[in-house]
């Protein structure tokens, strides 16, 4: 589905990513873990076009998408959420989710201004889809609220709903449960399992190891911009290199 081929990103002389290569198989959950500053968010930005890699290639469904602008990549079927929430505070919850369907809403400004019956019909269908997505995340009764007044946990779910409503081929989630309490985390975990059961391909950045071990099919470990391990959760958990990256020198502990 997605193949990364030696992705590098240098900020000045400083390498944030240094030749990262791995693949994200279709229909699976791949978790991307690593200590703070390992380059996880930079990698997501390089995949989605929010940032350009200085070297290497991103191949999505057999097509080289390296360096394409963000909106083109989004229209190819890659959706994402952001680590520091980017919900539109002034729009209603429903409109926020409808924004996730921008690609299906028609591109022509002139058609939009004329608002022909066909466009109205399409708008109604999109609205129904957005409402269905909100219901999935138990936000249906808050659809008309301005997003600004939602509590943090709800905003996280609005972002998830916005990213999934268009049924993207690949979903990139940047720390979907960061800052949530145990109950909310469990709720999001359930959602992710449901998405996986529905055949979504997910690349998940997460620090919550319980969640990662529970739902990931494959775990990729980044440290200081390098990919240090790839494997199933059980394999990665026993990998001495990974333990060292997370816990420091094992000798020092012993």
């Amino acid at each position: 589905m997605l193949r990364l081929d030696g992705i590098s990103r240098h900020f000045g002389g400083l390498p944030a990513l240094d030749g990262v290569s791995f693949t994200v198989p279709r229909g699976r959950v791949t978790a991307l873990i690593g200590p703070n500053g390992a380059g996880k968010s930079t990698l997501i930005n390089c995949i989605t076009g929010a940032d350009q890699p200085t070297g290497g290639a991103v191949v999505f469904q057999g097509r080289d998408i390296t360096g394409l602008p963000a909106h083109r990549i989004s229209r190819l079927g890659i959706a994402r959420t952001f680590q520091n929430l980017r919900v539109f505070p002034r729009l209603s919850v429903l409109d926020n989710v409808l924004c996730g369907l921008t690609g299906q809403g028609g591109q022509s400004m002139i058609m939009a201004m004329l608002r022909l019956p066909s466009l109205r019909h399409r708008e109604r269908l999109l609205r129904l889809r957005a409402m269905a997505a909100l219901d999935c995340y138990q936000l249906g009764d808050k659809a008309t609220w301005p997003a600004a007044i939602l509590p943090y946990g709800d905003r996280k779910r609005v972002e998830l709903a916005r990213a999934t409503v268009s049924r993207p081929d690949l979903l990139l989630l940047d720390e979907p449960v960061a800052g949530l309490n145990a109950d909310e985390t469990a709720g999001v975990g359930e959602q992710l399992k449901r998405l996986r059961a529905g055949g979504h391909t997910i690349l998940l950045i997460e620090h919550d190891m319980t969640l990662v071990m529970e739902i990931a099919d494959q775990v990729v470990v980044l440290d200081s911009g390098r990919c240090i391990a790839v494997g199933t959760p059980a394999e990665v958990r026993r990998n001495p290199v990974v333990l060292e990256a997370y816990l420091g020198q094992t000798e020092a502990c012993a």
Binding site: H71, R75, R86, L91, T102, L114, P146
Partner: protein, 334 residues
């Protein structure tokens, strides 16, 4: 049964609220000259109609793409002088001239917008201000074509056959028809998928791009659209008053237009009408405001931006919406 009826009615009203409101406004404007036939007052509301067209476009640009332009009086001037030169100097018929001028102004906006819209914030404000300054200077200095400081007179009225729009009442119907059409087009635009993309762009550019909005192209398109609307308003201005002076198109006109947008509120189409109305009428109502107009407008601008950065009307509407939603949560919890 009656409850069902009532709910049906409410649903109908909610579903067609935009269309019904526009219809209501159109009806009010239709009967307005019967109640108020003072030519001076009608002249004032006609001016509101012209300003409203510019403000609608400018609000799409400022409120929906989150950019700033202090140069729209420049596009307004290009429309007005363009129509004047096309009809008087070149002898073209007025209606095709308006369309031709609007097209040319759109192309100019495209040429200006492509480099200038790479800028943001203060830099964009300065660049557009500079554009306005250039246009204003050209109007003043190129007197063989524009008439220079003494202005451009003798612009013919618009006419359909023998029916000339030469009295205030006739102009009222012409101008408000165009304004309502522009209002309807703007309302349609913001209620569509494209409009939501623009609202997303105003909220957060990175997030909007990640949702598939071509941010660069969207900014340029809306900039061109707002310039075309300003040009259309300028042409109507020229044909309504028959006389143009460069003083009407200085940088303070641009800041007045921005003040109208800010009063109406970022991204509020209905607010644009209110903002255009209030700022147009204010100097006429109170003499003090006429003398110190720029001070008063400046103060309003600063106060609104300090306390309600989304603009006066939409800021208040947002506050009310939040109040209601919070009240409902409280009731649900109780």
């Amino acid at each position: 049964m009656s409850v069902g009826r009532r709910q049906q009615l409410l649903y109908f009203l909610a579903l067609h609220r935009t269309g019904l409101l526009v219809g209501l406004l159109a009806a009010a404007l239709l009967v307005y000259p019967c109640l108020q036939d003072n030519p001076y007052t009608l002249g004032l509301t006609n001016l509101i109609a012209i300003n409203a067209i510019v403000v609608l476009g400018l609000n799409l640009f400022i409120g929906y793409t989150g950019q700033i332009s202090l140069g729209h009086a420049g596009f307004f001037a290009l429309g007005a002088y363009g129509s004047a030169i096309a009809t008087v100097t070149a002898g073209l018929p007025p209606w095709p001239a308006i369309a031709l001028v609007a097209l040319l102004v759109g192309l100019i906006a495209l040429a200006v917008g492509i480099p200038v819209l790479r800028l943001t914030g203060h830099y964009l404000a300065m660049a557009t201000l500079g554009f306005n300054f250039v246009i204003h200077t050209v109007l003043l200095e190129w007197d063989e074509v524009t008439g220079g400081p003494s202005g451009f007179s003798g612009i013919p009225s618009l006419a359909v056959g023998q029916w000339a729009f030469d009295s205030e009442i006739r102009l009222h119907y012409l101008l408000w028809t165009v304004t309502l059409l522009c209002l309807l087009l703007s309302l349609n635009l913001v209620r569509s998928g494209v409009g939501r993309g623009l609202a997303a762009l105003a909220g957060d550019e990175t997030a909007a791009a990640a949702l598939g909005v071509d941010t660069r192209q969207a900014k340029i398109k809306v900039f061109v659209l707002s310039a075309v609307l300003a040009s259309l308003a300028g042409s109507l201005f020229a044909h309504s008053f028959g006389y143009l002076s460069p003083d009407s198109f200085g940088i303070f006109t641009s800041t007045d237009l921005v003040t109208m947008v800010v009063i109406g509120g970022m991204g509020s189409i209905w607010g644009s009408l209110f903002g255009a109305g209030l700022i147009t009428v204010l100097p006429e109502w109170v003499d003090l405001f006429e003398t110190y107009k720029d001070f008063v407008h400046g103060t309003i601008l600063v106060l609104v931006l300090m306390f309600l950065p989304q603009g006066l009307v939409s800021g208040l509407v947002d506050m009310i919406r939040i109040r209601i939603a919070l009240q409902r949560t409280k009731n649900a919890a109780a």
